[in-house]
């Protein structure tokens, strides 16, 4: 009994220490964003002073954020990121769900060949496509456009894999057959029957796609030259090139960049984690 209690104590101790290690960089980020350049170098977290708990609360301010939005126009990049990530997420989810449905529930010539072709692309490392992809966009005249940035990402191989799996396990063929006999068209069956049945996967995939576009740096860095098109990842890095040592400002920019994603995740975390692991556990 005593040993059990001791083990429990150690287990919680280890978990709490690792939780602290995980959270400390977030605290560092949050404090840093509110500090001046000088205070950032002088103290790790909150600045010293004669306020409550010996902390200089009055030295903290939102000046970095004010500068980011009013002087440096980061708001533009925020909207760009939201636009790019939303269009990417909705487009990729729709295309993958449709193709997954087609591969799982429709019979046609070459179906398994199509599926193996797409699957084989799963092991192709994305960086391999950087050079020829850039060349292709150049030839198509799509460099420095959102179409050039978004379109190539709309057909991720793992998306079709996940949705085919979800359609196979989540949508009973008898239901589809019954709907067909009732005279429902394939488009109606897809939107009103199949898609609602795989809702958890749709939610998770929307989030995954949104995240991957939001956190994409290399793509926009290579494809978009005009600063007014840049999303946060590129804009913030460019800002670092100019104000590299002003860490307070950079931390504020980082906070602006990650806060929307964090909020979205907190709202939808249940769906996200279950969708994320469902493919892996079954496999």
């Amino acid at each position: 009994m005593k040993i059990r209690r001791l083990t429990q104590f150690v287990v919680y101790g280890v978990l709490l220490v690792y939780a602290a290690i995980t959270l400390i960089p977030f605290a560092y980020l949050l404090c840093g964003a509110l500090k001046t350049k000088f205070d950032f170098a002088a103290t790790l977290f909150l600045p010293d002073g004669d306020g409550l708990f010996g902390i200089g609360w009055d030295r903290l301010s939102g000046a970095n954020f004010k500068r980011l939005f009013l002087e440096l126009g980061i708001g533009r990049a925020v909207w760009n990121s939201i636009f790019i990530a939303s269009v990417h997420a909705v487009g990729a989810t729709l295309l993958c769900a449709m193709a997954g449905y087609g591969l799982a529930k429709l019979r046609f010539w070459g179906r398994s060949a199509v599926f193996s072709l797409v699957l084989s692309a799963l092991i192709i490392p994305a960086p391999l496509l950087l050079a020829p992809g850039y060349q292709l966009l150049y030839q198509l005249g799509l460099l420095d456009t959102y179409i050039g940035l978004i379109l190539p990402g709309l057909a991720p191989a793992f998306g079709i894999f996940l949705f085919r799996q979800a359609m196979l396990t989540g949508v009973p063929s008898e239901l589809v057959e019954a709907a067909r006999l009732d005279g429902a068209g394939e488009i109606r069956i897809f939107f009103e029957l199949a898609l609602p049945l795989v809702r958890p996967m749709t939610g998770a995939f929307l989030l995954i796609s949104f995240l991957s576009a939001w956190n994409n740096f290399v793509g926009p860095q290579i494809i978009l030259q005009s600063p007014e098109l840049h999303p946060l990842s590129v804009a913030l890095n460019n800002l670092r090139g100019v104000y590299g040592t002003d860490y307070g400002l950079i931390m504020a920019g980082t906070l602006v960049s990650i806060a929307p994603v964090m909020a979205l995740f907190l709202l939808l975390q249940k769906e996200f984690i279950s969708g994320l692991t469902s493919g892996a556990v079954k496999g």
Partner: protein, 298 residues
Amino acid sequence: MNMPVATRRWNWAPLFFVGPFLLIFGVFILWPMVSSLLLAFQQTFGPETTRWVGFKNFAYLVNDPRFWKAVSNTSIFTLGSLLIQLPVALGLALLLNRPKMVGRSWFRLIFFSPVLVGLPFVAILFSPIFEKRIGLLNVSLNMLTGGAWDPEFAWLQVYVMPALILAALWMYAGFNMIYFLAALQNVPKELTEAAEMDGCNAWQRFWHVTLPEIRPIAGFVTLLSIIGSFQIFELSLLLLNGTSGPSDRGLTIVMYLYQTGFIAGDLGYASAVGWVLAIFLMGIALIHRRLSRGQEED
């Protein structure tokens, strides 16, 4: 024509559902793949002029010290990541999987949260953390060791790969833990309970009962970690302000591909680098398949 009504009505459906995906897939993934294979045998200066050079790019690669520097850096990063990150992830999952854990979902949420930050922002956040003198890591280590740790420890100037391993550990350990935890929750409780009744201690239960049960997922997570680690790029690039660091200490394979292709402008040589990496990773995936097939036969 006497076609049955049903067939005629369904004919367009496959094209409608699978067609858009396949079109984009073909144009933006399949075609670039083929053309990258062609590019790998060309010398290119800018996207317009090309010259066929056969295997010259690959021959040059074999004797290119920067390429080998990139390979060695990337291998060190991958090895470090596997040996530190995966045991940490599995350990956390084992602790969280204990029966009657209070706050399990809170811990899970906290451990998972860093992966949401995204690679470019993790790199930007960690650049002050790794700073000399004022950086969080050096100051904390100095305090924890009672002054023994050198606050001038040059993470981003000398110990670049250890710094990358630490940043990746922070970012991905909790993410991999989610997979391990899901696998552990699928292990039948009767199995471990039976082993406990038979007098097995915790270590024996883990080694002989739990581990064989989660081997498929553990193998899958290991494979994904190897593939992901070998493609490390943005973390290094952004931590080092767009450079490969002093003496190329932060140069990785994909960063080399990026530098040769987009800074030096030789897309052909960059494609050769990419194909060497691709073939290597395909080899790893094949080995994994072989191994996991062997397991099923056990």
